[in-house]
């Protein structure tokens, strides 16, 4: 896997490109990140680096186990930690990752946690059509039949039904990078990314 960086979604706006078209963009404050640990097949069974997002934190954000872990690299002010699989020979423990490494890129994948929608029925969650509202239809937003009777006498796995919607890990692939401002650590990508403003994002999958 290629290098990645952690960031926080700031919000969306639009900018005008050379063809005068309005381009919808998401503004992400990315990095700086620090390499907290390198995992190797000898010690952990696989290659990976562990990166943490350096950001302003409240007084009680770091608990003792995390503080101990951060002490090894001499970093503070890190709460959010993620792992990137793969070997990164040019990054040693304690190295910092900033948007400087992202200057020449065309597109990225962005991973985030989508906004939670709570328990939703099938109409909202799976785009079922629902039934007629009036004329005594008696079938409004119900899912309808979820299977046959004597055979198979069970409901198939994966049957689309109501349930928790949102709040899950979502990856949006191949978002075009519109602008990178390495000095202020801000990256603009075309289109929407999962989660609320302020939500944690992992930017990776550089193309």
């Amino acid at each position: 896997m290629k290098i990645g960086i952690l960031g926080r979604k700031l919000g969306m706006t639009q900018i005008f490109d050379e063809t005068r078209a309005a381009v919808p963009v998401t503004v992400i404050a990315a990095g700086p990140c620090v390499v907290l640990q390198k995992k190797t097949p000898e010690s952990d069974g696989y290659h990976a680096i562990q990166i943490g997002l350096v950001e302003k934190l409240g007084r009680h954000a770091i608990n003792k186990p995390l503080a101990g872990h951060l002490k090894k690299t001499g970093t503070g002010s890190v709460k959010q930690v993620r792992e990137l699989r793969g070997e990164f020979p040019d990054l040693s423990t304690g190295a910092s990752i900033t948007l400087d490494l992202f200057k020449e890129i065309q597109a990225v994948d962005v991973v985030g946690t989508s906004k939670g929608k709570g328990f939703q029925g099938v109409v909202r969650r799976h785009h079922f059509g629902g039934g007629r509202a009036t004329h005594g239809s008696m079938f409004h937003r119900a899912p309808g039949s979820i299977g046959s009777s004597s055979y198979p006498s069970r409901v198939f796995k994966g049957m689309k039904m109501g349930g928790q919607m949102g709040g899950g890990r979502i990856t949006v692939k191949n978002l075009k990078v519109v602008q990178v401002d390495a000095a202020s650590g801000v990256i603009l990508v075309r289109g929407a990314v999962p989660g609320p403003a302020g939500g944690l994002l992992l930017i990776h999958g550089i193309r």
Partner: protein
């Protein structure tokens, strides 16, 4: 909205546009590309709405063309807007003048706003 997003918006915003509000009559000079050539088209009408604000602000301009009501929505800070001229200020009592769509003729006139 975050300060950084505001900063990005203000960097792209135009400062060459006149002050105007809903109810004002304006001339919008629109750049139109026809193949290779580019020309400027004039659209004059009453501003019936200003929406969104910031870099994303749009204006809805309404005019009566050949007896038919025509509305165009312009992204205010878009480069396709060459320039905007204020023709006449209007005395109105609400921010969105959608009611103009339902009336025509003399009723749809907007009184000019004069400084006292």
């Amino acid at each position: 909205m975050s300060e950084i997003v505001k900063g990005i918006e203000s960097a792209g915003m135009r400062t060459d546009l006149p002050m105007f509000r809903a109810g004002d009559t304006i001339k919008v000079y629109v750049k139109i590309k026809e193949g290779e050539k580019e020309r400027i088209q004039l659209f004059q009408g009453v501003v019936i709405a200003r929406k969104h604000g910031g870099l994303r602000e749009t204006i809805t301009v309404r005019k009566i063309s050949g007896g038919i009501g025509v509305e165009r929505i312009f992204p205010l800070h878009s480069p396709i807007v060459d320039k905007i001229e204020l023709v006449q200020r209007g005395r109105i009592r609400r921010a969105k003048l959608y009611y103009l769509r339902a009336i025509k003729g003399k009723k749809a006139r907007i009184e000019e706003l004069r400084d006292e």
